[in-house]
């Protein structure tokens, strides 16, 4: 059985859920081999073993974290050349997609992004044109390189050895051309990552102001959810741009997407249409988002959302 390389998405060894989803998918396609680049492997080892990594390639050179994207491309390219894997899976994050794209160019392969499923033979399912069309694609020359959207598979534990193998690469001058000199973190509290969250609560024009987003945040915190925003809300400066859901923003696919005060233009639907359950609150009964809602309430979000927040707290208590 050929190895399937899975690039581990982590922050100092804290492994993101999407990695466990990728390991689960990789088991269908071959033998999962995790690729851990960066510091903190000791924190990651046991969860990678629990979710089925037969092998883990560890590239821990501190230099690898100093440059944009290219060092991870160098690590994966060297593994692709030496190990001839059956394929490479990466998360469909901004970094994951760029690593995949550069890797495809470097090793002379094809790349597919934003898969929502990967089946036998690396046939990839994608949801395109704002969720309107389902496409089955495949890579037909070179090793298949595929990025998968978070929440595309339920992580399943399947204990394996996680046999560790150190990898070191020599970075070229081009790999070191874009140097990261500072990391600036914005306050996001304890909320989960928007892209990975199982529940997302989003606010739009109907929220009315930046201060009023407290109503959205309160519900999100009661549900353990991430907060999202429509473009109208981020353009108005009510909520930071990196939380924008939709075309030109984030694409999310949570178990529950709850939209408050968002009318649901195609640009917004493109970023959330594949959510499992959609709940909509809007005072305009004609809002297009009601057309794809599993449950909707026509009403004032400033009444409905706080009441829901209290109800969630009561029922969770």
């Amino acid at each position: 059985m050929s190895e399937i390389l899975v690039l581990v998405d982590h922050a100092d060894g804290a492994v993101k859920k999407v990695t466990l989803e990728l390991l689960t998918l990789a088991r269908r396609l071959g033998e999962p081999a995790a690729v851990f680049v960066g510091q903190g492997y000791d924190n990651a080892k046991s969860i990678l073993a629990e979710y089925g990594a037969a092998k883990v390639y560890v590239a821990a050179d501190a230099e690898l974290a100093e440059y944009v994207v290219a060092p991870k491309v160098a690590v994966l390219a060297s593994l692709v050349q030496d190990r001839q894997p059956g394929g490479v899976l990466l998360p469909s994050s901004a970094d994951g997609k760029e690593i995949a794209g550069r890797l495809a160019v470097r090793v002379g392969a094809g790349v597919i992004t934003d898969a929502v499923d990967v089946r036998d033979g690396f046939v990839c399912e994608q949801s395109v044109f704002g969720g309107g069309t389902i496409v089955q694609s495949r890579v037909r020359s070179g090793v298949p390189i595929v990025t998968v959207r978070p929440n595309s598979a339920a992580p399943e534990a399947a204990p394996a050895d996680a046999a560790e193998e150190q990898v070191s690469v020599t970075l070229s001058d081009a790999d070191k051309a874009a140097r990261i000199t500072d990391r600036v973190e914005v306050e996001k509290g304890e909320r989960p990552d928007l892209a990975e969250a199982s529940i997302v609560v989003s606010g739009g024009r109907g929220v009315g102001s930046g201060e009023n987003f407290a109503v959205i945040e309160a519900l999100a915190d009661a549900l353990g959810a991430a907060v999202g925003a429509s473009r109208a809300a981020t353009d108005a400066g009510w909520y930071p741009h990196q939380y924008q859901v939709g075309q030109t923003g984030k694409t999310v696919s949570p178990q529950l997407y709850l939209a408050a005060g968002i009318s649901g233009a195609i640009q917004h639907r493109a970023g959330m249409q594949t959510s499992k359950t959609i709940v909509v609150v809007n005072k305009d009964a004609e809002a297009p988002l009601f057309e794809i809602a599993d449950f909707g309430v026509v009403g004032d979000l400033h009444q409905v959302v706080p009441q829901l927040t209290e109800e969630v707290k009561k029922r969770k208590a």
Binding site: E98, R102, Q136, E185, V297
Partner: protein
């Protein structure tokens, strides 16, 4: 500073977008073509940088004849001239092939800085800027929400989940921008008139030295096996709030075992 801004003509998000049942590529005839939205931010940033440094802005696009509409839009915003990679044998190119053609065109045109939008609204892959950096062996300064050039030094803020990274490099470089970066200008009447007289050079695959076997659908490393319209979501229940809307949602979530 010699800036090249890459633009793409895409089907309007508001029109019905579909794939051609014959060769399974984008059906460009069925939808209105518009310039990719984020590319307008790339043009704006290029114009600002050129204005600040006394440089020129060249528009580069690859696409069918119809894509000249998007070139004209960029020229009417203020870009100086344009290069159109136009060749029927490129039809059906995937991202790997597109980046090869654009890299070849960039080599031929020459530049200090390449600027792109970080995503197209049709394919939404967000890989071409990174692929260009890879092919050209240049710094990748992508997802920029701020760009500063000082002589040959360039610094950007690279937007990330947690905030941003500050990234430094030396020109030449490849930059992609997010919409937070600026507010694109509207073409003025004078700009629209002037655009009609600006130079547009056409490059074919022969001019770019691209190998025939690598071109178009036949040379693509990826293929669409099949496609189907997504099944419509089942129409859900919509109720009017009578003072208990929040409770009703909680009941619904409980019935779905979400709560």
């Amino acid at each position: 500073m010699n800036i090249v801004v890459c633009v793409k003509q895409v089907p309007d998000t508001y029109s019905e977008r579909r794939l051609d049942p014959g060769d399974k590529t984008l059906d460009r005839a069925s939808a209105d073509g518009v310039i990719n939205e984020l590319d307008e931010y790339a043009i704006e940033e290029s114009l600002k940088l050129a204005e600040a440094t006394g440089g020129t802005v060249t528009v580069l696009t690859m696409g069918p004849e119809k894509a000249t509409e998007s070139i004209r839009k960029a020229l009417s915003m203020g870009a100086d001239k344009a290069v159109h990679v136009l060749d029927d044998s490129l039809h059906g190119a995937d991202a790997v092939q597109t980046s090869a053609a654009l890299a070849a065109a960039l080599d031929k045109v020459g530049f200090d800085l390449v600027v792109l939008g970080s995503e197209s609204t049709d394919a939404r892959m967000s890989v071409v800027p990174a692929m260009l950096a890879e092919r050209l062996g240049l710094p990748q300064l992508t997802y920029a929400s701020k760009v500063e050039v000082d002589g040959s030094a360039i610094t950007v803020q690279r937007q990330a989940e947690y905030g941003y990274d500050k990234v430094e490099a030396t020109l030449p470089a490849v930059v992609s921008v997010v919409e937070k970066i600026n507010e694109p200008r509207y073409p003025s009447f004078k700009g629209i008139m002037a655009a009609k007289k600006k130079e547009v050079a056409n490059f074919g695959v022969g001019d770019l030295g691209l190998a025939e076997a690598d071109l178009g659908l036949a040379g693509a490393a990826t293929e669409v096996v099949e496609f189907t319209p997504a099944p419509p979501r089942e129409k859900g229940v919509v109720v009017t709030d009578e003072g208990d809307g929040g409770v009703k949602i909680a009941d619904y979530l409980a019935s779905q075992k979400i709560l």
